[in-house]
Amino acid sequence: MKKVNYLGQKSLSVFLRYLVNFLWYSQLIIVGLILIKFLANLFSPENTFSWPVSFVAKVQEDIVSQNPNILGSKIQVAEGTLLFDTMNDWHANAMMLLGVLIIAAPFLAITFQVRKILKSFISNDPFLKSNLRRIRLIGIMLMLYPIVLYIFGIGYSNYLNSNFGEYDFVNNMDFWPLFFGLFTLVISEVFRLGIEYREDNNLTI
Protein backbone atom coordinates (compact mmCIF):
# COMPACT_ATOMS: atom_id res chain seq x y z
CA MET A 1 0.00 0.00 0.00
CA LYS A 2 1.29 3.43 -0.96
CA LYS A 3 2.34 5.62 1.98
CA VAL A 4 0.29 8.79 2.43
CA ASN A 5 2.30 12.00 2.35
CA TYR A 6 1.16 14.45 4.98
CA LEU A 7 3.61 17.28 4.28
CA GLY A 8 5.09 18.74 1.09
CA GLN A 9 3.89 18.89 -2.49
CA LYS A 10 1.36 16.23 -3.55
CA SER A 11 0.41 15.60 0.06
CA LEU A 12 -2.70 15.63 2.23
CA SER A 13 -1.80 19.21 3.19
CA VAL A 14 -2.38 20.33 -0.43
CA PHE A 15 -5.85 18.74 -0.43
CA LEU A 16 -6.60 20.33 2.93
CA ARG A 17 -5.43 23.70 1.62
CA TYR A 18 -7.92 23.47 -1.26
CA LEU A 19 -10.71 22.82 1.24
CA VAL A 20 -9.63 25.65 3.54
CA ASN A 21 -9.29 27.99 0.54
CA PHE A 22 -12.83 27.11 -0.48
CA LEU A 23 -14.01 27.79 3.08
CA TRP A 24 -12.06 31.07 3.20
CA TYR A 25 -13.54 32.46 -0.02
CA SER A 26 -17.03 31.24 0.93
CA GLN A 27 -16.76 33.06 4.23
CA LEU A 28 -15.59 36.24 2.49
CA ILE A 29 -18.53 36.03 0.08
CA ILE A 30 -21.01 35.45 2.95
CA VAL A 31 -19.62 38.38 4.97
CA GLY A 32 -19.66 40.50 1.81
CA LEU A 33 -23.31 39.59 1.17
CA ILE A 34 -24.20 40.42 4.78
CA LEU A 35 -22.52 43.81 4.44
CA ILE A 36 -24.35 44.45 1.16
CA LYS A 37 -27.64 43.48 2.84
CA PHE A 38 -26.80 45.77 5.73
CA LEU A 39 -26.11 48.69 3.40
CA ALA A 40 -29.25 47.93 1.38
CA ASN A 41 -31.25 47.82 4.61
CA LEU A 42 -30.08 51.30 5.54
CA PHE A 43 -31.91 52.71 2.51
CA SER A 44 -34.92 50.41 2.72
CA PRO A 45 -38.17 51.38 4.50
CA GLU A 46 -38.37 47.93 6.13
CA ASN A 47 -34.93 48.04 7.76
CA THR A 48 -35.09 44.64 9.47
CA PHE A 49 -32.54 42.06 10.56
CA SER A 50 -33.02 38.41 11.43
CA TRP A 51 -31.33 36.79 14.40
CA PRO A 52 -31.70 33.19 15.57
CA VAL A 53 -33.70 32.69 18.78
CA SER A 54 -33.96 29.51 20.84
CA PHE A 55 -36.71 29.12 23.39
CA VAL A 56 -39.03 26.56 24.86
CA ALA A 57 -42.07 27.02 22.66
CA LYS A 58 -45.37 27.59 24.43
CA VAL A 59 -47.04 29.57 21.72
CA GLN A 60 -47.86 28.99 18.07
CA GLU A 61 -48.21 32.58 16.92
CA ASP A 62 -45.46 35.12 16.38
CA ILE A 63 -44.52 37.13 19.48
CA VAL A 64 -44.73 40.86 18.91
CA SER A 65 -42.56 43.33 20.79
CA GLN A 66 -44.09 44.97 23.85
CA ASN A 67 -41.64 47.84 23.73
CA PRO A 68 -43.07 50.85 21.89
CA ASN A 69 -39.57 51.78 20.65
CA ILE A 70 -39.24 48.58 18.59
CA LEU A 71 -42.86 48.03 17.64
CA GLY A 72 -42.04 46.48 14.27
CA SER A 73 -39.95 43.71 15.80
CA LYS A 74 -41.33 40.22 16.32
CA ILE A 75 -40.19 36.69 17.10
CA GLN A 76 -41.15 34.38 14.26
CA VAL A 77 -41.94 31.19 16.14
CA ALA A 78 -41.98 28.87 13.11
CA GLU A 79 -38.63 30.09 11.78
CA GLY A 80 -37.03 30.48 15.20
CA THR A 81 -35.81 33.97 14.40
CA LEU A 82 -36.11 37.44 15.81
CA LEU A 83 -37.09 39.87 13.09
CA PHE A 84 -35.61 43.06 14.45
CA ASP A 85 -36.85 46.36 13.10
CA THR A 86 -34.16 49.01 13.54
CA MET A 87 -36.69 51.70 12.54
CA ASN A 88 -33.91 53.42 10.56
CA ASP A 89 -32.06 54.24 13.76
CA TRP A 90 -28.35 54.22 12.87
CA HIS A 91 -27.37 53.24 16.44
CA ALA A 92 -29.45 50.08 16.17
CA ASN A 93 -28.09 49.41 12.68
CA ALA A 94 -24.51 49.80 13.90
CA MET A 95 -25.19 47.41 16.80
CA MET A 96 -26.58 44.84 14.38
CA LEU A 97 -23.50 45.15 12.16
CA LEU A 98 -21.21 44.88 15.18
CA GLY A 99 -23.02 41.69 16.23
CA VAL A 100 -22.53 40.17 12.77
CA LEU A 101 -18.84 41.10 12.77
CA ILE A 102 -18.30 39.69 16.29
CA ILE A 103 -19.76 36.37 15.16
CA ALA A 104 -17.92 36.31 11.80
CA ALA A 105 -14.50 37.64 12.85
CA PRO A 106 -13.19 34.54 14.70
CA PHE A 107 -14.22 32.25 11.81
CA LEU A 108 -12.38 34.47 9.33
CA ALA A 109 -9.35 34.82 11.58
CA ILE A 110 -9.07 31.07 12.28
CA THR A 111 -9.46 30.14 8.60
CA PHE A 112 -6.85 32.74 7.65
CA GLN A 113 -4.36 31.36 10.18
CA VAL A 114 -5.01 27.73 9.10
CA ARG A 115 -4.33 28.74 5.48
CA LYS A 116 -0.98 30.21 6.45
CA ILE A 117 -0.06 27.16 8.54
CA LEU A 118 -0.94 24.79 5.69
CA LYS A 119 1.22 26.84 3.33
CA SER A 120 4.26 26.13 5.52
CA PHE A 121 3.25 22.44 5.69
CA ILE A 122 3.24 22.29 1.89
CA SER A 123 6.71 23.86 1.73
CA ASN A 124 7.86 21.13 4.15
CA ASP A 125 8.81 23.61 6.85
CA PRO A 126 6.28 23.28 9.68
CA PHE A 127 8.44 24.17 12.67
CA LEU A 128 8.35 27.95 12.37
CA LYS A 129 7.93 30.44 15.18
CA SER A 130 5.18 32.14 13.17
CA ASN A 131 3.27 28.82 13.14
CA LEU A 132 3.58 28.59 16.92
CA ARG A 133 2.04 32.08 17.26
CA ARG A 134 -0.72 31.16 14.82
CA ILE A 135 -1.60 27.91 16.61
CA ARG A 136 -1.69 29.70 19.98
CA LEU A 137 -3.92 32.39 18.50
CA ILE A 138 -6.29 29.76 17.10
CA GLY A 139 -6.41 28.02 20.50
CA ILE A 140 -7.19 31.25 22.34
CA MET A 141 -9.86 32.25 19.82
CA LEU A 142 -11.51 28.82 19.95
CA MET A 143 -11.49 28.99 23.75
CA LEU A 144 -12.85 32.52 23.99
CA TYR A 145 -15.46 32.19 21.24
CA PRO A 146 -18.09 30.15 23.17
CA ILE A 147 -17.48 32.27 26.28
CA VAL A 148 -18.03 35.53 24.36
CA LEU A 149 -21.10 34.06 22.66
CA TYR A 150 -22.48 32.90 26.02
CA ILE A 151 -22.03 36.38 27.56
CA PHE A 152 -23.57 37.88 24.42
CA GLY A 153 -26.41 35.34 24.80
CA ILE A 154 -27.10 36.42 28.39
CA GLY A 155 -27.55 40.01 27.23
CA TYR A 156 -29.65 38.84 24.29
CA SER A 157 -31.91 36.72 26.53
CA ASN A 158 -32.35 39.64 28.94
CA TYR A 159 -33.16 41.89 26.01
CA LEU A 160 -35.75 39.41 24.70
CA ASN A 161 -37.24 38.90 28.16
CA SER A 162 -37.65 42.61 28.73
CA ASN A 163 -39.05 43.38 25.28
CA PHE A 164 -41.04 40.28 24.33
CA GLY A 165 -42.06 38.76 27.66
CA GLU A 166 -40.86 35.68 29.56
CA TYR A 167 -40.66 32.78 27.09
CA ASP A 168 -37.81 30.69 28.60
CA PHE A 169 -35.21 31.83 26.09
CA VAL A 170 -32.43 29.27 25.86
CA ASN A 171 -28.77 30.30 26.09
CA ASN A 172 -26.45 27.29 26.04
CA MET A 173 -22.68 27.27 25.97
CA ASP A 174 -21.06 25.15 23.29
CA PHE A 175 -18.25 23.28 25.03
CA TRP A 176 -16.67 21.71 21.92
CA PRO A 177 -14.80 24.83 20.72
CA LEU A 178 -13.64 25.34 24.31
CA PHE A 179 -12.31 21.78 24.43
CA PHE A 180 -10.64 22.08 21.00
CA GLY A 181 -9.18 25.45 22.04
CA LEU A 182 -7.54 23.87 25.10
CA PHE A 183 -6.33 20.95 23.01
CA THR A 184 -4.87 23.33 20.40
CA LEU A 185 -3.01 25.21 23.14
CA VAL A 186 -1.47 21.90 24.28
CA ILE A 187 -0.53 21.10 20.66
CA SER A 188 1.10 24.54 20.41
CA GLU A 189 3.42 23.51 23.25
CA VAL A 190 4.38 20.38 21.26
CA PHE A 191 5.13 22.72 18.35
CA ARG A 192 7.33 24.87 20.61
CA LEU A 193 9.33 21.76 21.54
CA GLY A 194 9.60 20.84 17.86
CA ILE A 195 10.97 24.30 17.04
CA GLU A 196 13.47 24.00 19.89
CA TYR A 197 14.65 20.57 18.67
CA ARG A 198 14.99 21.87 15.13
CA GLU A 199 17.05 24.83 16.34
CA ASP A 200 19.25 22.46 18.36
CA ASN A 201 19.66 20.26 15.32
CA ASN A 202 20.53 23.22 13.08
CA LEU A 203 23.10 24.49 15.57
CA THR A 204 24.75 21.10 16.07
CA ILE A 205 27.91 21.01 13.99
Binding site: E199, L203, T204, I205
Partner: protein, 69 residues
Protein backbone atom coordinates in the same frame (compact mmCIF):
# COMPACT_ATOMS: atom_id res chain seq x y z
CA UNK B 1 27.99 30.09 27.51
CA UNK B 2 31.09 29.10 29.56
CA UNK B 3 32.37 26.81 26.78
CA UNK B 4 34.62 28.84 24.48
CA UNK B 5 35.57 27.65 21.00
CA UNK B 6 39.19 28.51 20.22
CA UNK B 7 39.00 27.41 16.61
CA UNK B 8 40.35 30.71 15.28
CA UNK B 9 43.38 30.47 17.63
CA UNK B 10 44.21 26.96 16.40
CA UNK B 11 43.64 27.98 12.78
CA UNK B 12 46.04 30.91 13.24
CA UNK B 13 48.63 28.61 14.86
CA UNK B 14 48.39 26.18 11.94
CA UNK B 15 48.12 29.04 9.44
CA UNK B 16 45.03 27.48 7.97
CA UNK B 17 42.26 29.44 6.27
CA UNK B 18 38.58 28.85 6.88
CA UNK B 19 38.11 27.75 3.28
CA UNK B 20 40.86 25.12 3.52
CA UNK B 21 39.58 23.83 6.84
CA UNK B 22 36.10 23.62 5.37
CA UNK B 23 37.42 21.58 2.45
CA UNK B 24 39.53 19.27 4.63
CA UNK B 25 36.85 18.62 7.26
CA UNK B 26 33.89 18.59 4.89
CA UNK B 27 31.84 21.10 6.87
CA UNK B 28 30.13 24.02 5.17
CA UNK B 29 31.58 27.48 5.66
CA UNK B 30 28.42 28.66 7.36
CA UNK B 31 28.59 25.83 9.91
CA UNK B 32 32.27 26.52 10.56
CA UNK B 33 31.41 30.16 11.02
CA UNK B 34 28.69 29.24 13.56
CA UNK B 35 31.26 27.15 15.41
CA UNK B 36 33.94 29.87 15.27
CA UNK B 37 31.55 32.52 16.59
CA UNK B 38 30.56 30.32 19.52
CA UNK B 39 26.91 30.17 18.37
CA UNK B 40 26.85 26.37 18.12
CA UNK B 41 24.76 24.49 20.68
CA UNK B 42 26.59 21.17 20.27
CA UNK B 43 29.51 19.59 18.43
CA UNK B 44 29.38 15.99 17.21
CA UNK B 45 32.28 13.71 18.20
CA UNK B 46 32.74 12.92 14.51
CA UNK B 47 33.13 16.65 13.70
CA UNK B 48 35.51 17.13 16.61
CA UNK B 49 37.56 14.18 15.40
CA UNK B 50 37.80 15.64 11.89
CA UNK B 51 38.75 19.09 13.25
CA UNK B 52 41.44 17.61 15.51
CA UNK B 53 42.79 15.60 12.59
CA UNK B 54 42.87 18.58 10.25
CA UNK B 55 44.42 20.93 12.80
CA UNK B 56 46.65 18.25 14.37
CA UNK B 57 45.52 19.10 17.90
CA UNK B 58 43.58 17.79 20.89
CA UNK B 59 39.89 18.57 21.63
CA UNK B 60 41.05 20.64 24.60
CA UNK B 61 42.99 22.90 22.22
CA UNK B 62 39.74 23.80 20.45
CA UNK B 63 37.30 23.80 23.37
CA UNK B 64 37.87 25.58 26.65
CA UNK B 65 35.79 25.93 29.81
CA UNK B 66 35.66 29.47 31.23
CA UNK B 67 33.28 29.87 34.17
CA UNK B 68 30.89 32.84 33.99
CA UNK B 69 32.10 35.71 36.13
Amino acid sequence: MPIVVNLDVMMAKRKMSLNRLSEEVGITLSNLSILKQGKARAVRFSTLELLCKALDCQPGDILEYRPDS
